[in-house]
């Protein structure tokens, strides 16, 4: 139940914030050094990092709970125990993947 709502919330976040940032990133990249520097300045500011990490977590959560929904579309994993374990695994997985990715990215930026 909670993971199902999370799937919607993260989907809405990705639809607006995620795609807006992707579009802005591509546009800044194509508009020369000055435009890209101002994007980079905002993206790497404390607020920018919180937003980007939030979007990264939304991406992994939506991806993993999306896989869960595709499995359930086939009629599988409706048993209470398996269903709950699968739901919890999507949350553990999304946090682990987000942490691993940003640990690498922040390390590579130094």
């Amino acid at each position: 139940m909670a993971v199902s709502i999370l799937h919607r919330v993260t989907g809405v976040a990705l639809s607006f914030a995620g795609l807006a940032i992707l579009t802005w990133w591509l546009f800044a990249m194509s508009s020369g050094a000055e435009a890209y520097d101002s994007f980079k300045g905002l993206a790497t500011s404390p607020v920018g990092l919180v937003v980007l990490i939030g979007i990264t977590w939304s991406f992994f959560q939506h991806l993993l709970s999306g896989i869960r929904h595709l499995v359930m579309d086939t009629g599988a994993a409706f048993e209470l125990g398996i269903n709950k374990t699968f739901a919890i695994l999507t949350i553990i997985g999304s946090i682990a993947l987000t942490a691993a990715l940003w640990f690498y990215l922040l390390g590579a930026a130094k």
């Binding site: 639809s15 579009t23 591509l26 546009f27 194509s30 050094a33 980079k40 991406f59 896989i67 595709l70």
Partner: protein, 131 residues
Amino acid sequence: MSRGESATPLGVVRGLGSAHHGGEHWLTERVTSLALLFLGTWFIASLLLLPKLDQRTLIEWLHAPSGAIPMALLVVIGFRHALDGMKVVIDDYVHEEGSRFALNLLMLFLAVGGGAIALFALARIAFGAVA
């Protein structure tokens, strides 16, 4: 409803009700989700495999067909999947017909407009000179 419950013989065969359609949206959402599973993995893997994440390296990445083509697919399928997903959310929570229609129309304009901006930027990188 299972196929056998349809009222007419043709309906039984095709598994469709009197509207003769309606499953496309549901199915499209699943097909685009599968595509985005691959494209999203490609996107994250690419960022991890690039030697640096400065503007020059990123432009070289998206200037090459191996970067530009999957990115174009990610943009188009990403906006399409967002539009389909937002329709489900809007149809579930907005019950007044006029508002529902207006919001779905707004989402369509946002998705097509946003997709056009992203594709234009990508085209400028892909077909432009590498800085």
